[in-house]
């Protein structure tokens, strides 16, 4: 009995599948508790749609987190890219242009953030703390006195065509292929496992960190497009909670925030969906909106505790 348990615990699948399994269990519990209302396909689709923006951006962020670095400015970056892309659309009224601008802007901004760190040797965490404020200030300046109201026809048309879902799937496939099926992901993970050793294996930290940020930039671009479709109106408050939601999703999805071997692209979407499932399910059960966030926090802490071994000393690396 004990040995079986140990085997289960030791198995590489346990840590990998813990979060997805908990997600499935949550869904089952809610489905039963609400007498099936929760699990009707329409509701489930809605839950998935709610998680798409966070899922897309966080999937990109997985590349950064895998290297053991934390970027807490994902939301601010997305907000700025969203604004730029929306402006581009208003100027040209062309959806392809908007797509292009979003991707290019995402890649450029993330690239610059990475360069500050790799080129000028400032710690990633500090760079992103500054970026969080800087980028949102820039967004505010660009936005000026007017909210950007995108034409309803365009956004709803794209929404009906499931563009956010398609964007997510496309990016998820790209990301998964890159991360799990090419050397890139393995190298990033190896940097997260032990950066000195990775350097001595020929994986230059500065180069791969830059690549990770660029890929995350593509994710930000896609996420920005989804935001445009879902929100329709771009204000200074757009994506204001995304900074933290991203981290929340990734860690809830079963990844260590210090990266390493437990990094998976699906963590992001699993975590993001878990948050929306909790929100939706608890609301259905009549839990007040106010407590939802606390429940999220508690679940978050418990999951993190359950999935890590308690170290002897105090953890502190990179904050």
């Amino acid at each position: 009995m004990q040995s079986t348990l140990l085997k289960v615990k030791e198995s590489r699948w346990t840590s990998r599948l813990l979060s997805p399994i908990i997600l499935v269990l949550l869904i089952l519990v809610f489905a039963i508790a609400t007498g099936g209302r929760f699990s009707n396909p329409r509701n489930l689709k809605m839950i998935l749609e709610q998680a798409l923006v966070v899922g897309t951006v966080a999937t990109g962020a997985v590349f950064i987190f895998a290297t053991g670095n934390v970027n807490i400015s994902m939301g601010a970056t997305t907000a700025l890219v969203t604004t730029i892309a929306a402006k581009a659309y208003m100027a040209t009224e062309s959806v392809p242009v908007m797509f292009l601008v979003a991707l290019v802007a995402g890649v450029i901004i993330m690239g610059l953030t990475a360069l500050l760190s790799t080129w000028l040797d400032v710690r990633v965490l500090y760079v992103t703390v500054v970026m969080m404020t800087l980028l949102s200030s820039i967004q505010m300046s660009i936005l000026g006195s007017a909210n950007i109201q995108l034409p309803y026809d365009m956004t709803s048309g794209m929404g009906d065509a499931n563009v956010p879902l398609i964007l997510f799937i496309v990016f998820f496939i790209i990301a998964t292929v890159l991360f799990h099926f090419t050397a890139l992901g393995r190298k990033l993970r190896y940097i997260g496992i032990n950066d000195v050793c990775a350097e001595l294996t020929g994986f230059k930290r500065s180069r791969y960190l830059l690549i990770a940020f660029l890929v995350a930039g593509v994710g930000v671009g896609f996420g920005a497009l989804s935001t445009i479709v879902r929100n329709g109106t771009i204000t200074t408050d757009t994506c204001s909670t995304l900074n933290m939601d991203c981290m929340l999703a990734i860690v809830l999805g079963g990844m260590s925030c210090f990266g390493g071997s437990r990094s998976n692209t699906y963590s992001a979407i699993v975590g993001a969906v878990m948050v929306t499932v909790l929100n939706n399910g608890l609301l259905m059960l009549g839990v007040s909106n106010t407590i939802l966030q606390a429940v999220r926090g508690v679940v978050f802490i418990i999951l993190v505790c359950a999935s890590q071994t308690r170290p002897q000393g105090l953890p502190s690396r990179d904050g």
Partner: protein
Amino acid sequence: MPNKGEVVLEVKDMCKYFGVTVALDHVNFTLKSGEVRGLIGENGSGKSTVSSIAAGMQKASSGEMFYLGKPWAPSTALEAQKEGICMIVQEAGTIPSIPVADNIFLGHEDLFSFGPFVNHPKMVAAAQALLDELGIGIDASVVTGRLDLQQCKLIEIAKAMYWKPKILVVDETTTALSQTGRELLYKLMRRLADEGGSVMFISHDLDEMMTQCDAVTVLRDGHIIGSLNKDEFDGDVMKKMMVGREVKGDYYRSDMDPYGEEVVLKADCITTRRDLLCFDLELHKGEILGIGGLSECGMHTVGKALFGYEKILDGRVTVGPQHTVVKDVETAIKNGMAYTSKDRDHESVGLPGSIRDNIASTGYIKNLLVGPIISFKKEKAYVEKEITDLSLKCASQYHSVNTLSGGNKQKVVFGKWIGGDADILILDCPTRGIDIGVKASMYQLIYKMKKEGRSIVLISEELPELIGMSDRILIMKDGQVTHEAMRADHPTEHDLIEYMI
């Protein structure tokens, strides 16, 4: 203080195992008050282990100790310190960001406190008085980080001396000290002994040992080989006792195979930030080049510099027939070089990663399916092959390296580089902390690699290993090569140790 000549510490039948490695093998040892006792032996002979157990830094696997006639089993260094056994270790023991006085009284702020407050001037004054009394010319109020290594070491000595220890353990501290610092330390040791305390003094410098110690105990492979009193001191005798490690079975290579003429790796008058000044080296095809010396002689820097990991300020390292300049790790690897660090856990292997993560890290290009897509099947087979070839003991390739023994960890490192088809291997202490059995297979492996035409730089702190494996041995001291020996000349440990110390 106990009376002079009284036995203060007695170690009985002590054993210490690190995994399968035997560090101490039924050691018996007594220390009398009023004596400065030297402990000598090669790297890894067990001298630091026995003293650190007495000072509460680690626990023995079996055996017992008596201190001042009572059973002695300190659980922490702090407990030992309170009871009067202090140890000064090789590694830094001061915190750079706080003043000298704070370091001296670290953890003992109560001595100067009134209520929750600390009287800092009083603390500084006490520290200054202590330093002055010991003749250490350091201002107690400056921040420790501004001092150099030697001064930091002296502060640690002062910190230990404040408690008027009955036993002071000085573990290879003198290497960090200049002549003046050393003399100061000698004086303090002597004073302590005169006052009825005792000193356990560990050093590689035999001259130092002979002038400073009242008696010397020689250890080898975790055994006490013998003790010499001051009147019996003789450098040659001591060296003879230190060397001549027991070799169980024939696990080094026994052949006299030659090596090629072609120079595959060349260091041309390289200078690094520390240690190396105009260092030259040539490695030939199929050669095992041994580099030996004491830990701080600069040989570990040589390994890093050759691999492009240590910044080379002047001169250059070239590799291969085209004499490509190795400017960074990437070029080195591209040109078929590999490096295993002495600090394996931090630099050569990703501990939290799986065996597969580690071994496959050099083989991504070989395991492609189409384009840049990696074939999981190929990768699995690739890793599996290394695991079988090296007879790596593990449940599966998905196991975390954390869970493996030292020897198997090292095998993972080897597997990683051999799988990557490295032609030039720089192995820094490849058998460090590995049990005999695995060691033997490592040696076979190294020999096999030589036969395959690979060239190997073997950096080691163990002379028998160098003598047993190398085609050519360089002995280093203070960043310079002091001696070169060929395999054909059958050098002995005794010959070589002359040039190290």
